[in-house]
């Protein structure tokens, strides 16, 4: 018996090196032949006219990538990994009469991480001086950007929180619902549908996906009496599956939605990009509507009742299942909307954009109090502002999510029920 076992082991070990030589052991993150990271920008002269045919190179160690600006001035260099690159604009390829503006470093060193896309701005002409913002100005700008980011997080958080409140499920697949919204807009837009229709269809798709998830998976599981922890693990499996299904069809590259590039505009003391402003206004209106529905309508009352105590709600004649179904649909639509706005905020659409902010959504929800809708709103806005403001106070840009996650852990230490959560035993 021992001899047979030893022989089997020997055979298996013999087989090992051959495999190692031929197929590299698969690593957790699937490799992609296209580069997933991009350094890009637009070249425009001081009259805002695009500059074509300018050569730009990016260098990091052995890697060198080149790009030539296209007819609309856009250039894009795919790079293998995030890190520090030396980006140089070949000034001899500039058209006659156009020069880099004074004080524009060339070559310059560009550092990025945790975003797959970094844009580099080369300013041209005499009149342009790169503005040095003072601290107060910067603080105000980041604050507004933070509110905008926080509100888009809140869109996703409110859905997650409603779902948690009514079903008790901590849904790790919520990030993929966020991704889906942005990806659908990209797909419908690529099919040459009008922009408004693409957005409408994407929101519809998000709602449908929420409904399908509940009808196809979660309701049957609830019927079986599956516990909350197994359901949480099922949601992780679902998240993995959906994430890679999206990558399967969408690919690993970063794509842009229409109108993603926009110059900042000045409103009073604040400079903000029109996209961020739109995002802020849209999410504020939608969240306001959700609040009114929850507080003022019978449906909202029923939802809050189910969130509070499903058994009691059922006993008082509320159709708990239909409330939960509705919560999933609304959660799906809100997550889609959050995803679309997130695609403009970053900017860019990738297959893992939702899972990137999943933990920030969780942070917002836990900060506000698990299961409380208005808590999720407040928590998310705090997280959004915190993420943006930490960069003003000297935290490196690639660490800005750390601050928010850290705050969540600290809050759990002192007030585990969150800001608006009721004091109850949570352990």
């Amino acid at each position: 018996m021992g001899a047979i076992a030893a022989a089997t082991v020997a055979i298996l070990l013999v087989a090992a090196p051959a495999s190692l030589a031929a197929t590299p052991s698969p690593t957790p993150s699937p490799s992609n032949q296209q580069f997933q990271n991009n350094i890009s920008g637009f070249l425009r002269d001081d009259a805002r006219a695009p500059i074509q045919g300018v050569k730009i190179t990016a260098k990091n160690g052995d890697f060198t990538g080149t790009a030539t600006s296209s007819a609309n001035g856009a250039w894009n260099i795919g790079v293998p990994s995030q890190g520090t690159y030396e980006v140089q604009l070949d000034e001899s390829t500039l058209p006659q009469g156009i020069k880099l503006a004074a004080g524009q470093a060339n070559p310059r060193s560009i550092t990025f991480s945790q975003t797959s896309n970094v844009s580099v701005i080369f300013a041209f002409g005499k009149g342009i001086v790169v503005q040095q913002q003072d601290f107060g100005q910067n603080l105000l700008n980041r604050l507004v950007a933070g509110v905008s980011f926080g509100l888009l997080l809140a869109l996703a958080s409110v859905g997650l929180s409603l779902i948690f409140g009514t079903t008790g499920l901590t849904n790790f697949a919520h990030g993929e619902m966020v991704t889906l919204g942005a990806v659908l807009v990209f797909v419908f837009n690529a099919m040459n549908l009008p922009f408004w229709l693409a957005i409408l269809l994407a929101l519809l798709g998000g709602g449908l996906f929420g409904y399908a998830q509940d009808a196809g998976l979660w309701r049957p599981l609830r019927r079986r009496g599956t516990g909350l922890v197994p359901m949480m693990i099922v949601s992780i499996g679902l998240a993995l599956a959906i994430r890679y299904v999206i990558q399967f069809y969408f690919g690993g590259a970063t794509q842009q939605l229409p109108f993603a590039q926009s110059a900042e505009i000045q409103i009073g003391p604040v400079s903000i990009s029109p996209n961020n402003l739109w995002s802020l206004v849209i999410s504020a209106i939608v969240i306001g509507l959700i609040g009114i529905v929850l507080l003022k309508t019978r449906l909202g009352k029923a939802t809050r009742a189910v969130a509070d105590n499903p058994a009691l709600a059922a006993a008082s004649g509320i159709d708990v299942d239909s409330v939960i179904r509705l919560v999933w649909i609304v959660g799906g639509v809100l997550a889609s909307l959050g995803g679309i706005l997130w695609a403009y905020y970053r900017p860019g659409v990738t297959f893992d954009m939702g899972s990137q902010i999943l933990l920030l959504i969780f942070a917002g929800v836990t900060l506000g109090g698990l299961g409380t809708v208005f808590g999720a709103l407040i928590g998310s806005v705090i997280v959004g502002i915190f993420v943006e403001l930490t960069t003003v106070f000297g935290l490196a840009a690639d660490l800005k999510y750390v601050g928010a996650l850290f705050i969540m852990i600290v809050v759990l230490l002192f007030r585990p029920q969150g800001i608006l959560g009721r004091r109850e035993r949570v352990g």
């Binding site: 082991v9 298996l12 070990l13 013999v14 087989a15 090992a16 090196p17 051959a18 495999s19 190692l20 031929a22 197929t23 052991s25 698969p26 690593t27 957790p28 993150s29 699937p30 490799s31 992609n32 032949q33 990994s81 890190g83 550092t111 991480s113 901590t170 599956t226 516990g227 922890v229 197994p230 949480m232 693990i233 099922v234 992780i236 499996g237 679902l238 993995l240 599956a241 890679y244 990558q247 399967f248 690993g252 933990l359 969780f362 942070a363 836990t366 490196a396 690639d398 660490l399 999510y401 750390v402 996650l405 850290f406 969540m408 852990i409 600290v410 759990l412 230490l413 949570v426 352990g427």
Partner: protein, 322 residues
């Protein structure tokens, strides 16, 4: 399609060092979740702490191998304490969220450009394995078709896995292990017997975390490099899949689970690539075939959890949730 080669590759995964690392880390999860009911979604963080603790102490401070090993283990103990103090009194889902957040914090911190001189940021660290391979007792030559380095790392990786399995097996049949299982079944009942539930949970968290750190080292040594991208949340989820495949409240379950996981991944890769190369499948690219395998992992995780939560070897009565 060369089935002999595909089967040989899959069989090679059975005893690859990566499989040993997954087995160790999943064993740590078994201690956390299977035996104690702690939802740790940050095992990748523990692995990163082990790998970076070892690599940084070797590269930055020139520590010899065993000092580096000790530092890695101490770091993981500290990480477990820091995680456990705020969360072990809370409900299970809080621990889940905090551990996954803490693992991501670790990954962000080792990725940041601010610390490039220490952590190597996104490119990671390399060339720290010299001390390990200098201890290789096997002279150069052919060992079952491997060179002495590959053979050495397999012997150490699997030796460590076997030792850890024995230790965990002994621990779990000791009175200490019985209390732990009692906590999993009914925390309040154990508390009413006068046991300090919090301390027991903390000890379990630390032991599982140390296993994670050791796994992190076994994972990085054969690669000769440690890179933050390898320690994302996906790694944790793959480890959970291994754990659930094998059976969560068993000692051998995580090991067998890790073997099944890698053999199936290797088989599907071999077969899919073979079909694509032979032209039988034209609707897939090789990149998509890679993604298809991870879709299967996700679906497998869901199906396992729904239809056979006790895994291949587990006992349905020993589930951390009823």
């Amino acid at each position: 399609m060369d089935f002999g080669f595909i089967l040989a590759s899959a069989a090679g995964e059975l005893f690859s060092p990566t499989t040993a690392a997954y087995a160790l880390a999943a064993l740590g999860l078994a201690v956390h979740f299977g035996y104690s009911g702690l939802l740790n979604f940050g095992q990748a963080g523990f692995m990163a702490v082990g790998a970076y603790g070892f690599a940084i102490s070797t590269l930055s401070f020139g520590a010899p191998f065993f000092v580096g090993l000790l530092i890695a283990v101490i770091c993981s103990v500290l990480f477990a304490l820091v995680l456990g103090i705020p969360t072990l009194r809370l409900r299970a889902d809080y621990l889940a969220i905090v551990t996954i957040a803490a693992a991501e914090i670790i990954r962000y911190v080792v990725t940041t450009n601010q610390l490039t001189s220490v952590t190597g940021s996104a490119n990671g660290l390399a060339a720290f394995e010299g001390g390990f391979y200098s201890m290789n007792p096997f002279p150069e030559g052919d060992y079952l078709g491997m060179n002495n380095r590959d053979f050495f790392i397999r012997v150490i990786g699997w030796g460590l896995a076997v030792i850890c399995c024995v230790i965990i097996w002994l621990l779990m049949r000791s009175p200490w292990g019985r209390v732990l299982k009692g906590i999993r079944e009914d925390e309040n009942a154990v508390r009413s017997l006068g046991k300090n539930v919090y301390a027991y949970k903390m000890q379990a968290l630390v032991i599982g975390g140390v296993l994670g750190a050791l796994a992190g080292m076994v994972f990085t040594l054969p690669r000769g490099a440690v890179q933050p991208a390898n320690y994302g949340t996906e790694l944790t989820f793959f480890l959970w899949t291994c754990l659930l495949l094998g059976g969560m409240a068993t000692v051998l379950g995580p090991v067998i689970g890790a073997m099944i996981f890698w053999v199936v991944l290797s088989l599907t890769q071999g077969i899919l690539y073979g079909l694509i190369e032979s032209g039988a499948v034209t609707w897939l690219t090789t990149v998509q075939a890679g993604q298809l395998r991870y879709i299967l992992v996700g679906v497998a995780l869901m199906l396992l959890m729904i239809f056979r939560p006790q895994g291949v070897f587990g006992n349905k009565k020993e589930l951390a949730f009823a």
